[in-house]
């Protein structure tokens, strides 16, 4: 019988200090996330220096709780996996250096993981992957469609040319004077409103899987400005619903088209914006007409940043014999196709 594989995962690329233990790449044994969101709220966004300060303060408590939850020690682990990029460099360096210290102390392999690969692999903690597959990755910093022919192979077939979907959400939320982080507030408002403002759908050139959200964001800002100048009252619920409808329609349409063109077995939703109810509902509805393609949407807790996803992706790299040295660095702009 094959021995079980236990991977200890670490994630500090943005404002969550997280650690987790995953068994055989599919089963969460422990998953601890310490969120800093309260500390960044007063600044209206994540402040890199503050994020780094929190990581170094919280990291041992997070590690400790992870081992306690699992009832395991590092002697039970097969490797240490850590996000090496992309992300905030100062924040990444806390996880990377802590991972090195543990790997060194216990003579374990050190595995650097791409953050987005992690988001995609969060799905494997819910449902075994079936290849080929596509993943729609939507987060504060990313909007991508990634094609996977097999484990550990990533090809970006479409990406944003300007703002990420999550960034557009945050900026629109600020325009509507909603508190940070804006995404969930817009999602909630949108659920109570209707798509009445006729905002543009930016599809770019024929056949492209790329995205662009800056025009849509400007259209929202202009709508607010024009209403102010004319002294008209806006209906925030309807404006949120109109904005969300445009984002969701474009994301859904391109994902469906790519799924058909690439004849995939599965479509996986990944990233923080995957928590968006509007997007979930739209994809579920669209894929209900495509029974040959399975749509996998992880639970909310696995959509936002966590370390279980890093351990899950790290398991594949471990099985493939991929390791990093003690000279591993943090890479703020790491490329998913070549990492």
């Amino acid at each position: 019988m094959k021995k079980d594989t236990y991977i200890f995962g670490i994630e500090t690329s943005c404002d969550e200090t997280a650690a987790a233990i995953v068994k055989n790449g599919t089963e969460i044994v422990a998953n601890v996330v310490s969120s800093q969101i309260e500390s960044h709220k007063r600044f209206g966004g994540v402040v890199p220096e503050i994020a780094s300060r929190h990581h170094v303060e919280q990291i041992i408590a997070v590690f400790q709780e992870t081992l306690e939850q699992a009832g395991l020690t590092f002697k039970d682990m097969d490797a240490i996996a850590v996000t090496k990029g992309p992300g905030l460099v100062g924040a990444l360096l806390i996880g990377v250096n802590a991972a090195k210290a543990i790997a060194f102390a216990h003579q374990l392999p050190l595995i650097g993981v791409h953050h987005i690969a992690g988001h995609i692999y969060a799905n494997r903690l819910v449902k075994e992957m079936a290849f080929p597959l596509l993943s729609l990755v939507v987060s504060g910093g990313h909007t991508e469609i990634v094609y996977m022919a097999e484990h550990g192979s990533f090809k970006v077939i479409g990406e944003t040319r300007d703002d990420a979907a999550g960034e557009a959400y945050d900026k629109v939320a600020r325009t509507l004077h909603l508190p940070y982080p804006g995404g969930p507030h817009i999602d909630r408002l949108a659920a109570a409103g209707e798509d009445t403002y006729g905002l543009p759908r930016v599809r770019l050139e024929e056949g492209s899987y790329d995205f662009s959200f800056s025009g849509l964001k400007s259209a929202v800002i202009n709508t607010v400005h024009n209403a102010q100048q004319r002294g008209e009252e806006l209906v925030p619920e309807n404006l949120a619903a109109s904005f969300q409808a445009s984002v969701v329609e474009v994301l859904t349409e391109k994902t469906i088209r790519a799924a058909k063109e690439y004849c995939v077995e599965q479509v996986l939703l990944a990233g923080g914006v995957a928590a968006n109810e509007g997007l979930r509902a739209s994809l579920e509805k669209a894929f209900s007409d495509m029974p040959a393609t399975e749509l996998v949407i992880p639970p909310l807790s696995l959509c936002t940043d966590n370390a279980a996803m890093i351990a899950a992706a790290g398991t594949i790299l471990f099985e493939q014999g991929k390791k990093d040295g003690m000279d591993m660095n943090g890479h703020p702009g790491l490329d998913i196709e070549t990492f």
């Binding site: 007063r42 402040v47 220096e49 170094v56 041992i60 802590a98 090195k100 543990i102 003690m326 943090g330």
Partner: protein, 235 residues
């Protein structure tokens, strides 16, 4: 007691290993290169050289600032994680105190100094006497001109140490005259032996060791200023 000491609070990388009172190894590289890439390989190589396994370690000592924010965090993160996971004590010591303790002074006031840009320094005032280091003025982030005024009130000769104090030598010499003596070139950086000596007396819980930045993050300063303005505007 087999002890590993790490200081990455400036661009200098200092590592020391002691076995009881004996300094087994000291390694300093004074290069403007990336600590994140270099610290762990350097620790690994030095430990191999002295034939120590990680599990042989009985204590970790780390300089927890002030200094470069990222540099301090890399050293503190490695040190506290090592201490925690090896279940051994850790001692956090001031990087400035250890720089002061690196001075070959028998008795007198020593001022260690790291540059903090825009005419500011990270500094403190220490008295060395018979190998004992006493804190006279706590580590702080201060304008070098204000700092000179404060030191002048002591009416005593001050020895400035640390390679970055050389940047401020003209200003200090002009303000303080004869009472300022400079050894920035003779004592350019922290000797790991000084770090090992300073950390030998204390120990803390690894989870509780945090950097001493000696100043707020810029975003916090701006936020506080904005709030003060708002409060005044509301009056």
């Amino acid at each position: 007691m087999k002890t590993l000491a790490i200081d990455t609070s400036t661009f200098t990388l200092s590592i020391g290993i002691a076995d009881g009172d004996v300094i087994v190894a000291e390694q300093v590289t004074n290069l403007k290169k990336n600590h994140s890439i270099r610290v762990m390989p350097a620790i690994q190589a030095l430990m191999e050289e002295v034939e120590l396994k990680p599990s042989d370690l009985e204590k970790i000592i780390v300089a927890n600032g002030p200094g470069s924010y990222t540099g301090v965090r890399i050293g503190v993160t490695i040190a506290k994680t090592l201490a925690w996971t090896l279940n051994i004590p850790i001692a956090a010591v001031s990087g400035l105190a250890s720089l002061a303790a690196s001075a070959p002074v028998i008795d007198g006031l020593v001022c260690p100094m790291f540059d903090a840009r825009r005419g500011q320094v990270f500094t403190g005032l220490y008295r060395l006497s018979n190998g004992v280091v006493e804190t006279i003025i706590e580590d702080r982030n201060v304008l070098v001109t204000d700092w000179c005024d404060e030191l002048l009130q002591r009416g005593e000769t001050v020895l400035f140490v640390g390679q970055e104090s050389i940047l401020h030598e003209p200003v200090i010499a002009e303000k303080m005259g004869d009472v300022a003596v400079f050894a920035g070139k003779a004592v350019p950086y922290t000797r790991p032996a000084a770090l090992l000596a300073l950390g030998s007396e204390t120990s803390s819980n690894p989870a509780e060791v945090v950097p001493n930045y000696a100043r707020l993050a810029e975003a916090e300063v701006k936020w506080m200023e904005a709030n003060e303005k708002k409060a005044k505007g509301d009056e």
